[in-house]
């Protein structure tokens, strides 16, 4: 019997079975940010256990509120910063060098096929785009991970999502994953792992795959794994070129983590990508999804482009293509937040920041802020935001606010119109 990717990774990392069906795994990476880590750090200190299992495997960043907005967030940053110094964590990204965790850690080459990764953040599943088992955990799991380098998980059942065909112009990974969440529902994959496959995934960039994997949690999934292929190798090549003679060698090594053809899945979902159209959410749950055309004309107060879902260079390029030479609606305001300093610089070099600014966007530094209503774009009560983020929960971006999740293309077109609208890059049925 063949194995899924998750089974292979579990088998290679299992250090204990406290109960049949539960595995304690050794961890290759423990990622940390300033919101969920400080309480773990304080608890470790209080227990007299202020140490880390391996400083080279721990990576830390200040990203949720950056720069600090008040004394409390300044304290959180300080706890993380002091801890990183004390424990010789080299890869700590302080204000100025920091980006959204799920964008900057992959960018620095910290994810490799076959890895186990945890972080005190539900969107840690983003990193499974690199054929990793990457899972969001709470602070206690994080704390023990920091201390011992292990974490317990139920042996995962796996849902295979097979996506074939070419996405129509103007339809993106975000539209695909929202459609998948609609089909699975918000708890359709709870406790399970998703493994994506098919020609659509094969032809996606790493950026698009990260968008896909990022939202696996919105269907309840522990991880949303993409297979390793030459696209994975090309992305990682600057970081692995000393480990392998050729890219083909790297591909051979990494491919062994891919699911076997006869792997057993709990279920399989087939999607024809060519039949998809741009979609957006309409309610307070990420599975409440409709074609954009059915939401056309919905008034918005703010447009937000950024986050661990859609703040990468590819996303900014798509939005800039739509915004070039145009102005946003005078009725609304719009914010763009490049997810890392590297992306910010790329956008500057490519003239993308000019396009955003000329269109009337507020350009912020990299931060998670607005997505969870912490800073840099919080909504007032009764306001509506068209957003490229990942959660539309009631009050998520500000108490009493409403969020419509969508792709950067739809968000950019919506910024121009002031109401939800399909992007001009989509040539299907428009704004029916």
């Amino acid at each position: 019997m063949g194995k899924t990717t998750a089974q292979k990774i579990f088998d290679a990392h299992r250090v204990d079975v406290p109960e049949p069906g539960i595995s304690v795994l050794s961890l290759d990476r423990v990622f940390c940010h300033e919101i969920t880590t400080p309480i773990a750090i304080n608890d470790l200190c209080a227990r007299g256990m202020d140490r880390v299992f391996d400083p080279a495997k721990i990576k830390a960043v200040i990203d949720h509120v950056s720069p600090a907005k008040d004394s409390k967030t300044a304290e959180q940053g300080k706890v993380l910063r002091d801890w990183a110094r004390r424990n010789h964590i080299q890869d700590f990204y302080d204000i100025g060098r920091n980006g959204v965790c799920h964008a900057i850690f992959p960018e620095k080459g910290f994810c490799r096929p076959g890895y186990t990764i945890i972080m005190g953040d539900s969107h840690t599943c983003t990193h499974s785009a690199f054929c990793c088992f990457a899972a969001g955990v709470g602070t206690t799991d994080l704390e023990l991970g920091i201390l011992k380098g292990v974490c317990a998980f139920h042996d995962p059942e796996t849902i295979q999502i097979r996506v074939n065909g070419k996405l129509p112009d103007g339809v993106y990974a975000k539209d695909l994953i929202l459609t998948i969440i609609q089909k699975l529902t918000v708890n359709g994959a709870t406790g399970k792992v998703i493994e994506f496959c098919g020609s659509t995934i094969d032809s996606m960039s790493m950026e698009a795959r990260m968008t896909l994997s990022n939202m696996a949690i919105e269907a309840g999934a522990t991880s949303g794994i993409c297979p390793a292929d030459m696209t994975t190798v090309e992305y990682l090549w600057p970081f692995i070129k000393d480990e392998f003679k050729t890219k083909e060698d790297a591909l051979r090594e990494y491919s062994r983590w891919n699911a076997d053809p006869d792997a057993e899945y709990a279920s399989t979902l087939e999607i024809d990508a060519s039949q998809l159209e741009p979609v957006a959410t309409f309610g307070y749950k990420p599975d409440q999804v409709k074609p954009v055309r059915e939401l056309a004309g919905t008034r918005v107060d703010q447009v937000y482009i950024g986050s661990c879902t859609n703040g990468r260079i590819e996303d900014l390029r798509i939005a800039a293509k739509i915004l070039q030479g145009k102005k946003i609606s005078p009725e609304i305001r719009a914010i763009v937040s490049p997810a890392t300093p590297h992306i910010f610089k790329q956008a500057l070099d490519e003239g993308i920041i000019d396009i955003f600014m000329d269109a009337g966007f507020c350009v912020t530094n990299p931060t998670c802020g607005a997505c969870l209503g912490m800073s840099n774009g919080v909504l007032a009560s009764g306001e509506v935001c068209a957003s490229t983020t990942n959660r539309n929960f009631n009050g998520r971006m500000g108490k009493g606010g409403m969020v419509h999740l969508m792709s950067p293309a739809t968000a950019a077109a919506t910024a121009l119109a002031g109401t939800i609208t399909n992007s001009p890059l989509y040539h299907g049925e428009r704004n029916a």
């Binding site: 250090v15 204990d16 406290p18 109960e19 069906g21 539960i22 304690v24 919101i35 969920t36 400080p38 309480i39 304080n42 608890d43 227990r47 256990m49 949720h64 509120v65 008040d70 409390k72 967030t73 304290e75 959180q76 706890v79 005190g120 953040d121 539900s122 840690t124 969001g136 955990v137 709470g138 602070t139 206690t140 799991d141 704390e143 023990l144 201390l147 011992k148 292990v150 317990a152 139920h154 918000v186 708890n187 709870t190 406790g191 309840g220 522990t222 307070y284 749950k285 969870l372 209503g373 912490m374 959660r391 929960f393 009631n394 009050g395 998520r396 108490k399």
Partner: protein, 174 residues
């Protein structure tokens, strides 16, 4: 072991997310205790008053997919600091469920029919419940009657409840 009994707070809705249990703006607190006043502050449930309804309760009975969304352990912590160590539902989001047991608190899953029955018989009354992890039985009573609901508790989850959480359990073992 933490107290696994108390008066029941009935939350008749599915998919209650962690943003509703503890809004993100309070995640800047550096102590668990500071979260206490904000329990379920943004819960979207007609008739629910977080300022009044949480006080004096020791358990929650709710529907499906409780605790979905963010990984924030602030959600179990805010319950814990309001003396609620027990949540009974059809099922839970994975991270929330693990966080509960990691804190030595307990989630009990019951079939939808039994959850329906508990709402039908006990909601709106002064209902009290008590969970026994050794016998794996939940007892619910009000001034009229008492009913028992056996539940499944895996040996690992039980060990976490008994140890007072994952750190205590794992520190000796790994």
């Amino acid at each position: 072991m933490k107290n696994l009994s108390g008066k029941i707070l009935f939350l008749d809705r599915s998919d209650i997310n962690t943003d509703e249990i503890i809004p993100a703006k309070y995640l800047t607190e550096l102590s668990k205790e500071a979260l206490k006043p904000y329990c379920l502050e943004d819960l979207n449930l007609p008739g629910f008053n977080p300022a009044k309804d949480v006080q004096g309760k020791g358990a929650i009975v709710t529907r499906a997919n409780f605790g979905c969304g963010s990984s924030r352990e602030h959600a179990p912590w805010v319950l814990e600091y309001n003396n609620i160590n027990l949540v009974i539902a059809e099922n839970f989001a994975r991270i929330f469920r693990q966080n509960m047991f990691n804190c030595g608190m307990m989630c009990i899953e019951l079939p939808p029919e039994q959850i329906d029955e508990i709402f039908r018989v006990f909601a709106g009354t002064d209902a009290f419940c008590s969970a026994d992890p050794d016998k794996a039985v939940l007892t619910i009573s009000n001034d009229r009657e008492t009913r028992e609901y056996p539940f499944h508790l895996g040996s690992f989850d039980k060990a976490l409840v008994k140890a007072g959480g994952w750190i205590n359990y794992a520190d000796k073992k790994y």
